[in-house]
């Protein structure tokens, strides 16, 4: 089952010479976490905006749970897809945490009586229930991003897109957000698409898609894609710690098995060798 399918997709921004995405055919399997990687300008964020109908492609087709993304279906598409953007401050609409989570519900005309329980549950899911009356200036970046995720969870979407949502956070904030994503993945109710430069975040995904200059250069399970260190280096994305260590050992002439290593696997292999 695919939650999102892109067929022969092409998109070109007005007043540019080259399309930013060209000939994209891609499926995002339902209930899986897919990491979308590639250097800046490779078309990752454009793809996220196209999936949510914030931009409309002239050529090609996108479907979300079988619904084609067109101007007429935008309301439905926004219901199925939630996006968390990069800058925690620029997506906080409400005056308090609860108001911000309520914003999406208000737009969807959810009856007032239903709101408190839905807001409460969404905030509990991201561990922010205790701060529901706090103002954004009192929150850290990581807390604001978790509120943004709560705002999306309250709307019960099928697809959650994170557009470099952890890139402006400090390490502690990032870790909390990533732990939250793992929890959501384990519930298997959501299809997660995370656009990222963070090697740790790619390593956590089920699948990885590599974009370069508007085309898909590689896709597959995380182990398959991240195994190819040469490719990762060529397109200029970060290399996960386990793989980097494997590469350094191999470069020094140590015989390391040619497969994908997570940090834990690397630690296990090393302790076996000692």
């Amino acid at each position: 089952m695919n939650a999102v399918t892109l067929t022969d997709l092409q998109y070109q921004y007005p007043d540019t010479k080259k399309p930013v995405l060209d000939g994209i055919n891609l499926n995002f399997p339902a209930g899986k976490w897919t990491a979308l990687i590639g250097r800046n300008g490779s078309g990752k964020s454009t793809m996220a905006r196209l999936i949510d109908g914030l931009l409309i492609a002239r050529r090609g087709q996108i479907t979300v749970n079988g619904i084609p993304v067109t101007e007429d279906n935008l309301t439905k598409i926004h219901q199925h897809v939630g996006i968390v953007f990069q800058n925690p401050d620029n997506q906080f609409v409400g005056a308090t945490v609860a108001d911000d989570v309520a914003f999406g519900l208000e737009n969807r005309q959810v009856p007032r009586e239903e709101m408190p329980s839905r807001i409460q549950r969404a905030l509990e899911a991201v561990d922010m229930a205790g701060l529901s009356e706090s103002e954004p200036t009192m929150l850290s970046g990581g807390q604001k991003q978790r509120v943004a995720i709560a705002g999306i969870l309250a709307l019960r979407p099928q697809v959650i897109i994170l557009d470099e949502a952890t890139s402006m956070l400090d390490p502690a904030g990032r870790e909390l957000v990533l732990a939250l994503l793992e929890r959501l993945r384990d519930q298997q109710q959501f299809t997660i698409i995370s656009i990222t430069h963070d090697p740790a975040e790619m390593a956590m995904a089920d699948r990885v898609v590599v974009l370069d200059q508007g085309k898909i250069v590689c896709q597959g399970t995380t182990a398959e894609v991240l195994r190819d260190v040469a490719l990762l280096e060529k397109i200029g994305v970060g290399i996960p710690a386990g793989q980097q260590l494997r590469q350094e050992l191999a470069d020094r002439g140590i015989a390391v098995p040619d497969r994908y290593f997570t940090v834990e696997e690397m630690v296990k292999w090393l302790s076996q060798q000692l």
Partner: protein
């Protein structure tokens, strides 16, 4: 936390804090109108008493109110001085060139001083006991009838609340840009007034550019969360009119009735 800037909220729990923002808005506007009906010492004292009662009920200390009003003290002093020196009528006590101190001038300046102080204090009572966003909610309610003449009330109040929400964020950013320019050797405290104003340009330009960028990001995020300015929306924040609001309304009526009784000379014996 005990420093109050004019118009800022003081988060304590009081009867006045718990009142419906609509009642407090009504009360403030009503009071300001009443101030212009005070025409004698006794009527003025009566209104002052009413204000004092509200200030005590708010559980915000007089010292905090004074700190809130102090920045405006210069404006009041200058207005009063002008009033004393440049108005004419009645007995002349002192005269020089175009300036004179007259009996009427003194009386007028006293009235202006009183009105200024009382009106500013009354609005400070409103803002000290009501968060700005609740005031916006109250305004939203009062503006609803304007929908009949196609005023986009909901969009206007959403705009207002987003503007209020971003004030601290943008102030923060202004601070960062100022520091960034300072680290490049800019001295904001040097030169005459004209030069100082010119020094603000390298702060304002990035601030504006970033604000537009923010606005665009925010618009995209709002659209992604299903915001459509033309569609009806439900409201999470509800205003609740309680018994205390009815009592306050009653008290305002009593305040008004007694004011007009004093004016009409019913308490002639007292007003001697």
């Amino acid at each position: 936390m005990n420093k109050v800037v004019f118009g800022s909220y003081v988060p304590v729990d009081s009867v006045l804090h718990r009142l419906d923002p609509r009642m407090k808005l009504l009360m403030c506007v009503w009071y300001v109108i009443l101030v212009f009906f005070a025409n004698s010492l006794w009527t003025s004292l009566w209104l002052l008493l009413g204000l004092g009662f509200a200030m005590v009920l708010s559980r915000v200390s007089f010292r905090q109110y004074w700190q809130g009003i102090r920045p405006l003290a210069w404006v009041i002093v200058i207005t009063v001085v002008f009033q004393i020196l440049f108005s004419s009528g009645g007995r002349v006590y002192w005269h020089w060139w175009i300036m004179s101190i007259t009996h009427d001038g003194l009386v007028n300046s006293l009235i202006i001083f009183y009105r200024f102080m009382v009106i500013i204090t009354a609005s400070t009572v409103l803002t000290a006991t009501t968060p700005t966003l609740r005031i916006a909610d109250g305004l939203d309610w009062y503006m609803q009838p304007l929908k009949a003449i196609h005023v986009p009330v909901n969009q206007l109040t959403l705009m207002l609340s987003i503007a209020l929400r971003f004030i601290p964020t943008i102030m923060d950013e202004a601070g960062k840009i100022t520091n960034a320019q300072r680290s490049r050797g800019m001295n904001f405290h040097q030169g005459n007034l004209f030069q100082r104003v010119k020094h603000l340009v390298p702060v304002l330009i990035p601030l504006f550019v970033n604000s537009f960028k923010r606005a665009e990001d925010l618009a995209t995020a709002m659209e992604a969360r299903g915001y459509d300015p033309d569609s009806p929306r439900t409201h999470y924040r509800q205003l609740h009119w309680h018994g205390a609001d009815n009592i306050t309304l009653g008290l305002m009526v009593v305040l008004t009735v007694i004011l007009f009784l004093i004016r009409g000379g019913v308490f002639a014996l007292v007003s001697l």
